[in-house]
């Protein structure tokens, strides 16, 4: 009994020891972001005005404080070690020597920068705020060193909206002080000039890539994308519409930086809206490099027999479509280029016009134009009903190319109020029927 009592006592004592200093660790969650008690005393525009000589390193020696909302961060990887902020007067690139900045300074966060000791300079016309560094006797502008960032940059509240300014390309100047530089802007009605390929370099070289976008008034501007962006390998948007971007410049070259692909809202059809009275218009100006297979959004390019599709033709300023059996080794070639569906609803005397040119006339090659109302959009157009249209087709010279010849007005009145497809068919063969034909400026007019 005594033993049991002792055992019990010992167990009780051990349990008692547990009541000493419990050091179970528990931690409160720290508070979230809020605007600090700091007031900006200088606008971004005023700060930028201090930098007047391109290439100079203007170290700020007074207690300037600016404030702005982050409009671009490094989340997608298109920007690296930099942010863009803007206030109501302008935008500015901020160089910070740290990565994954978006964790601390995401888009929409208001930040305050104590500029005393920082340096404002420009890289080929684009102004940035950073530090002046001297390495091996050479001055340069660098990002604020990682562990010093919090001495200069103070984070404020989150999710501050910034409304992009809707602008036109001509409003965007390349003067260092241009108020749009470094800000979030919006352009409407743009599309990639060549709507194929990826946003940036997918090779091991990881080069940054400039892609042109263009509106229907033929204003172009560059969209510049880093190969390190997480969307670098995505195919570019194929439609047309609105783009949001940070406006930057490199010398006199205007460049846009998108934050990610959600900035590219090209959701409208690629084709430019047609002028009144025009039902179809294709001038082949958006095609890519010479001799590549022709690829026009909405058009079908089918090498139905012999698998010889139409190609891009680019010579001098001229861009058009071409097709030839020459040197293809295909004994029989039948190739179609078919327009998108054209609605003739409400047309009065609809008519088709186009131009052709021919070259290196060999044998009984033919180039004909047809119309169909029952083509199903498939890859075997010969199964549809096609009616040949009377049009003037260029006659090819025996060597070299002839001039473009107008088709004359091809009347489509018989198809009023119907939906039609215009098909261009090339018939040839190698060898013996290898004449080359070129096609340009296809139009269908209401009257």
């Amino acid at each position: 009994m005594n033993k049991i009592f002792k055992l019990f006592t010992a167990v009780a004592l051990i349990a008692f020891m547990g009541t000493f200093s419990a050091c179970k660790k528990s931690f409160d969650n720290p508070p979230g972001a809020a605007d600090p008690a700091i007031v900006a005393n200088t606008s971004i525009q005023q700060l930028k005005a201090l930098h007047t000589v391109a290439g100079a390193y203007d170290v700020i020696t007074s207690d300037i404080i600016i404030s702005g909302v982050v409009v671009a961060d490094d989340k997608s990887g298109n920007l690296y070690k930099q942010l863009f902020i803007q206030d109501s007067t302008g935008g500015l690139q901020i160089l910070l020597d740290a990565n994954s900045l978006y964790g601390t300074y995401p888009v929409g966060r208001r930040i305050f920068i104590k500029c005393n000791g920082l340096c404002i300079s420009d890289y080929n016309g684009l102004m940035a705020l950073g530090v002046k560094a001297t390495v091996a006797g050479l001055p340069s502008q660098e990002g604020i060193p990682g562990n010093l960032i919090s001495n200069y940059v103070i984070g404020g509240s989150l999710n501050n909206p910034v409304v992009p300014k809707v602008v036109t390309v001509s409003q965007l100047g390349t003067n260092m002080q241009n108020p749009y530089l470094g800000t979030l802007i919006q352009l409407d009605g743009f599309a990639f000039t060549v709507p194929t390929g990826t946003y940036s370099d997918t090779s091991a070289y990881k080069s940054t890539v400039n892609r042109d976008i263009k509106n229907c008034s033929n204003n172009t501007i560059i969209v510049r994308t880093s190969a390190y962006a997480n969307f670098a390998a995505q195919p570019v948007a194929t439609g047309r519409g609105t783009i949001l971007a940070i406006y930057t410049t490199f010398g006199t070259t205007k460049q846009l930086l998108v934050r990610d692909t959600t900035d590219i809202r090209f959701t409208d059809p690629y084709a430019c809206p047609l002028p009144p009275g025009t039902l179809l218009s294709e001038d082949f100006e958006s095609i890519g490099a010479n001799n590549l297979t022709l690829n026009i959004p909405g058009w079908k390019n089918i090498g139905e027999v012999g698998n010889i599709p139409y190609q891009n033709a680019v010579f001098g300023p001229v861009k058009c479509a071409k097709v030839s059996a020459f040197s293809t080794g295909a004994a029989n070639v039948s190739s179609w280029l078919i327009s998108p569906a054209v609605s003739l609803a409400g047309a009065v005397t609809p008519k088709l016009t186009f131009t052709t040119a021919g070259g290196f006339n060999v044998g009984a090659t033919t180039f004909k134009v047809f119309v169909s109302t029952d083509y199903n959009g498939g890859n075997t157009p010969s199964t549809a009903t096609w009616t040949q249209l009377p049009a003037t087709i260029a006659t090819a010279p025996a060597s070299g190319f002839g001039s473009f010849v107008g088709s004359g007005n091809v009347d489509l009145s018989a198809y009023n109020n119907q939906t039609v497809y215009i098909g261009f068919r090339y018939d040839g063969g190698d060898p013996g029927r290898t004449t080359t034909y070129e096609l340009d400026d296809v139009k269908v007019m209401k009257n």
Binding site: V11, C23, F27, G32, K75, S100, T134, P145
Partner: protein
């Protein structure tokens, strides 16, 4: 002094062939009950630094990183090696921990995955671990064939515990500050029952190093039943749930900035409270059932089985598309700045602002607060979108769940006056389950089971980033498993036989062991990058191994002995060294074969009343060793694995220990270990990254010949002991350590690392040469007093002692003792800048103490 290898082999062969008659060695292998001094020293040991050696350790079986392999008996050398040399992580004969074995009540305790002994599983149970049998080197034992370095068997059975109650409180300034310990043993009663219970709590709100803490419990229960003279059945069970915030090594630059050799990069302030990111937790209870059967007066059979299960974990930060949160990341250091003015400014800044050199928890939370994201096709369901605060930083637990069975049976029989035969069979099975678990989302709503680096590297392969394509885009909450998840399954069976032959002048023994080991990996998830090489069971790898050892002792007289032992063993590779990257796939090293170890030792022992002395020389050669080193490489932003093969090592040297009684209670002790531990082959390195399916390099030659194994090659101590007849003692020792080296990075010794650098130039030497550390010294003192209270309080019936102990280590407060360190495993191949990824070091504690007061009755 050092014999030539060929000669050694010859001696070994001779010793093998000419053993015909025989014996029992005289050296002290009898169970030893510790004196007060030893028990005090034990206490010191279980409270030595907890240091992270690399990101991946903490897998040595314990939350507590106990460096010492052995508990000393009365051998003066062992005593020194265990207690006096521990500050610099001295390893006996330079051996790895897997060369030392530990048994408790007859069952082997080592982990089958790496051969280490999980000392932490019985930490804090000092009271019940006093009965032990220790051998050093290749001496024969009565309970196992043994390892190359030595063996310890603890006998914790209730009937072997002294009948008493003891209550003890200790105060220290090391890992823990307070310890309470209570033990009660009943002794064997008339009905044949004996009980022991013991418990302790060790804790510190902050340990020696900033930001560390400790909270450990230990529980022990034992019951014995003696059925008659022949049968004793014993059961013991113990558990040590422990949690501690750890100290990490760091680079010299951070140490200089912090102005503190004990700078700890693992902690930071959260809301003004210190929080440690590296928290080790461990709870792995064990039960052992032992049957001791005295078959006859001359023969005993001890059969024991054990079962252990539980989990240990180590926490750490993980991050997704976010800046590296570790404060001593090389890009955050002043040396990364090109402009010296900013480097200087940053230095000042980091010096004056503690938050800039510690983890900024508040910033991690704020990043997660600000992160509103949508995950598409969440949980693998098309069109399912989960939106919210996606954590970019989390605290993860890297968990190892272990289940271990051991069975062991040992027969000892005295066949004649001259012959003692021992034999045993052992079966061990272990399953470890490795996975990661979300510990804390740090203010976010969820995390996603995605490998961002594979996702980034294979933008066109949507599967590549998935940690488990069976459950893609899994949304994770606290407590969820994620990342990797695999089991290892190891089984080992062995049998051994030993004959000890004793004659008047000569004792001889010979022993052999054969074992069979197999293991396989089982993947529980299917990572996108390794669809076909991860999920399910891998090939089973099997090994058959044999070992033989023998020895001879010549008894000059009853006090002077000369002995020589030799052994040759083949050993299956450890699981840990076999798999290239077990977290993601089941590839093994190309040349997966058993390693071979040959060793000889010879020495002189003197056991005179006034002088105890032992001097031993040894020569050991390891062949075909394998190793896998894993570390975090931020270039890959993932774990990179170096699978090293063809490791050959030579360990040779002399050990000396002596204790001489000088005058009355005064004695002098001295010990020295003078050795040379070096690699004697060119190793081959195959490099893989967890997030890349490619072999980054295959069998790169590492020019590692003659590099040193990083433990002090030389260690010396000399001291004085005084034992008063008035029941007190004092001991002072001065210790000196020489020829210590930094662990080296194999890729820095490849052709690629030095190509283009002029041979013999300063840079070339800087890249290639192994770094030698400064010589070090420490001064330690111990004192104790045992007061028998009955002398004062005559009314007390029982003999009651009040015991005071105090030990002070490193009295001279030498704060520059680099107790270990390693070159970072990254190397700047492009610029050959050896300072870019600086060496990481850790330091032995400055002056530190351990004082206790105990009541025994």
């Amino acid at each position: 002094m050092t014999p030539k290898p060929k000669l050694c082999l010859l001696v070994f062969v001779l010793s093998g062939f000419f053993i015909t008659g025989a014996f029992a060695q005289v050296k002290d292998t009898l169970p030893v009950r510790d004196s007060i001094l030893e028990s005090l020293k034990d206490n010191l040991l279980d409270n030595i630094p907890v240091i992270s050696i690399d990101e991946n350790d903490g897998q040595d079986g314990s939350a507590q990183n106990i460096s010492s392999q052995l508990s000393a008996g009365r051998d003066p050398f062992l005593n020194a090696a265990t207690f006096k040399f521990s500050a610099v992580r001295f390893r006996i004969r330079g051996y790895d921990a897997d060369q030392f074995g530990t048994y408790i009540n007859g069952v082997p305790m080592e982990n089958l995955d790496n051969g280490f002994t999980p000392f932490g599983q019985w930490g804090g149970l000092n009271d019940v671990l006093r009965n032990r049998e220790t051998t050093i080197g290749m001496d024969p034992t009565t309970f196992a064939f043994g390892e190359m370095g030595g063996l310890t068997n603890f006998d914790t059975r209730a009937s072997r515990q002294r009948k008493q109650t003891s209550f003890n409180y200790a105060l220290s300034n090391r890992n823990y500050v307070h310890r309470l310990m209570l033990t009660h043993s009943t002794g064997l009663n008339k009905k044949g029952w004996a009980f022991t219970i013991s418990g302790s709590r060790r804790w510190a709100d902050e340990g020696f190093a900033d930001g560390t803490y400790y909270n450990g419990w230990s529980f022990f229960g034992a019951v014995d039943k003696r059925f008659n003279d022949r049968h004793l059945l014993s059961f013991v069970a113990f558990a040590t749930p422990t949690e501690n915030g750890r100290q990490g090594s760091s680079v010299q630059e951070m140490i200089d900035i912090a102005g503190n050799n004990f700078y700890n990069p693992f902690w930071g302030y959260q809301n003004g409270k210190k929080r440690n990111a590296s928290v080790a937790k461990s709870f792995q209870p064990i039960g052992i059932l032992t049957h001791d059967w005295k078959i006859s007066d001359k023969t005993t059979l001890v059969t024991a089985g054990s079962f252990s299960f539980g989990k240990r974990s180590l926490s750490g930060l993980d991050w997704y598309n976010a800046a590296d949160p570790r404060p001593d990341y090389y890009r955050y250091l002043p040396s990364y700045q090109l402009d010296p003015a900013y480097a200087a400014q940053m230095w000042d800044e980091m010096k004056s602002d503690v938050n800039k050199r510690q983890i900024n928890w508040d910033a991690l939370y704020n990043t997660n607060y600000a992160s509103y994201e949508s995950v598409y096709n969440a949980n693998g369901i098309q069109g399912n979108t989960v939106s919210g605060r996606r954590s970019h930083y989390i605290l993860e637990d890297r968990v190892v769940k272990t289940t271990k069975y051991n069975f062991n049976s040992t027969l000892n029989s005295t066949i004649s006056e001259h012959v003692i035969v021992s034999a045993g069979i052992t079966y061990q099975a272990q399953v470890n389950n490795y996975y990661k678990e979300i510990d804390d989302l740090l203010g976010g709503d969820f995390y996603v089971d995605i490998n961002q680096f594979a996702e980034r590297d294979f933008p066109t392969n949507p599967d590549a980033g998935q940690n488990d394509i069976n459950r893609p885009n899994r949304i994770l909450y606290e407590g969820d498993k994620f990342g990797y998840d695999y089991d290892i399954n190891i089984k080992k069976g062995s049998a051994w036989l030993q004959g000890v032959f004793k004659f008047r002048k000569i004792d001889v023994f010979i022993a052999t062991e054969n074992s069979f080991t197999n293991f396989f990996r089982k993947g529980n998830v299917r990572p996108g990058l390794f669809k076909d090489d991860s999920y399910g069971k891998s090939t089973t790898h099997s090994f058959f191994n044999s070992s033989i050892k023998g020895g001879i002792t010549y008894k000059i007289d009853g006090r002077n002995y000369i002995f020589a032992n030799g052994s040759y063993a083949s050993r299956a590779p450890f699981f840990e060294n076999a798999y290239l990257a077990p977290r993601t796939r089941d590839f093994v090293q190309g040349d997966l074969k058993s390693e071979e170890v040959g060793s000889i030792e010879a020495g002189y022992v003197m056991n005179a009343p006034k002088l105890k002395l032992r001097a031993t020389g040894y020569y050991t050669q390891f062949k075909n060793q394998l190793n896998v080193i894993t570390f975090y490489n931020d270039e890959f932003r993932n774990f990179v694995n170096y699978a090293i093969s063809n490791i050959g090592r030579v360990h040779t040297g002399v050990e000396f220990g002596a204790e001489a009684k000088v005058y009355r209670g005064l004695s002098v002790n001295a010990a020295a270990a003078v050795g040379k531990y070096f690699y004697n082959t060119r190793q081959l390195a195959t490099v893989t990254a967890d997030n890349s399916s490619q072999l980054l390099s295959v069998n790169d030659v590492v020019y590692s010949k003659n590099f040193y194994v990083p433990t002090p090659q030389n260690a010396y101590t000399i001291g004085l002991d005084y034992r008063s007849p008035q029941f007190w003692f004092i001991n002072v020792n001065f210790n000196f350590f020489d020829r210590m080296y930094l662990d080296f990075n194999p890729v820095r010794r490849t052709e690629a690392a030095s190509s283009g650098v002029e041979e013999g130039s300063a840079l070339w030497h800087d890249i290639i040469d192994q770094k030698r550390l400064d010589n070090q010294y420490t001064l330690d003192a111990f004192a104790g007093y045992s007061w028998m209270m009955n002398r004062k309080f005559k009314s007390m019936k029982k003999r009651t002692y009040l015991v005071f102990n105090v030990g002070v280590n490193n009295i001279l407060d030498n704060r520059n003792i680099v107790s270990g360190g390693f070159e970072q495993l990254r190397f700047d191949f492009a610029e050959k800048n050896t300072n870019k990824f600086q060496d990481r070091k850790f330091f032995a504690y400055g002056i530190n103490y351990f004082a206790s007061i105990g009541l025994r009755f």
